[in-house]
Amino acid sequence: MVSVLKRGLAIITLLIIGYWLAQGLAGVPFGQDKMLVGRYYLEHVIEQTGSINAVTAVVVNYRGFDTLGEVTVLFIASTGVGALLWERKKRRTAKTEGSIVLTTGTRLLVPFVMLFGAYIFIHGHLTPGGGFPGGATIATAFLLLYMAFTMYEIPHKAFEKTEGIVGMAYVIVGLIGLAIGGYFLYDWIWQTWGLGRDNVGRLFSGGFIPIIYTIIGLKVGTELSGIIDNMLKEGVKE
């Protein structure tokens, strides 16, 4: 009885909050053109960054600082998961091997899934996608391996080092921009060197976007697989 009352109270509170939010949202009409900075991006994106996917250009180039932060967040998550689930010795505890369909399918699919992931992040400036879904796809390949084979483990030492090196590579690309162009995260490949100017719409264009997305893809892939690895293994007593 009391529980029903409390539930009711919670629902009423939530409805009040919802009404209040709706009141605010009513002042921001749906489907209308509210762009200000957005229009600038759309108008100048090809000439300024060489990417035809405006979202990618905004993510990597115009608002690259956010993306650096975002990569850091994922790095923190993987570090934090590693710190909390740390054991001196860890082992996988799965007992049943995957079915024959799963194991054979995994053997066949893993290379292609990884290839597809790499394709997604390398073509981030041309097609939808980019480093984050690409990296996630690569992590999915490792997830498949984990589910199919009870004994499989990623090479964590190498993965951890890759995480660090790739992260540093991102910052160093930014610092090269600082040295060459005078601004942190400056797109020196496109703006200073002008590489790929006559190539817009094809793979070799877009300034440093493919480089950064490759970095992000590798980083996201290794970090998410690290998280999966930490989640799946349990500590053993010596």
Binding site: V2, S3, K6, R7, A10, N53, V55, T56, I120, P128, G129, G130, F132, P133, A136, T137, A139, T140, L143, L224, I227, I228, M231, L232, E234
Partner: protein
């Protein structure tokens, strides 16, 4: 009302229903799947709202991977909610 808006309404409706189910199911495994379903429907809506990048990311990260780590966590803890009287607000108490 043409058919395209129809589809919007249907997807939004199904999404809300699966959200409610995800919250109400006592089997946490089912709830995690429900949560992944919400993400999946949301990613279809992103596609309808002309955001293919977001749709891909949401499907790959929001639905697949976060669902997967939820399931791993459930595997390492317990699968069912214990039935007891519900008292709100553990996290506001000092």
């Amino acid at each position: 009302m043409n058919c395209v808006t129809c589809i919007n309404y249907i997807i939004i409706g199904v999404m809300i229903i699966s959200a409610i189910l995800a919250v109400e199911w006592r089997d946490l495994l089912a709830a995690a799947v429900g949560m992944a379903a919400v993400s999946l429907f949301a990613s279809i809506l992103f596609l309808i709202l002309q955001a293919p990048d977001v749709a891909m990311t949401e499907a790959a990260i929001g639905a697949a991977l976060s669902g997967a780590i939820f399931i791993f966590a459930i595997k390492r803890t317990q699968r069912f909610e214990t039935e007891e009287e519900e008292r709100p607000g553990w996290w506001v108490r000092w």
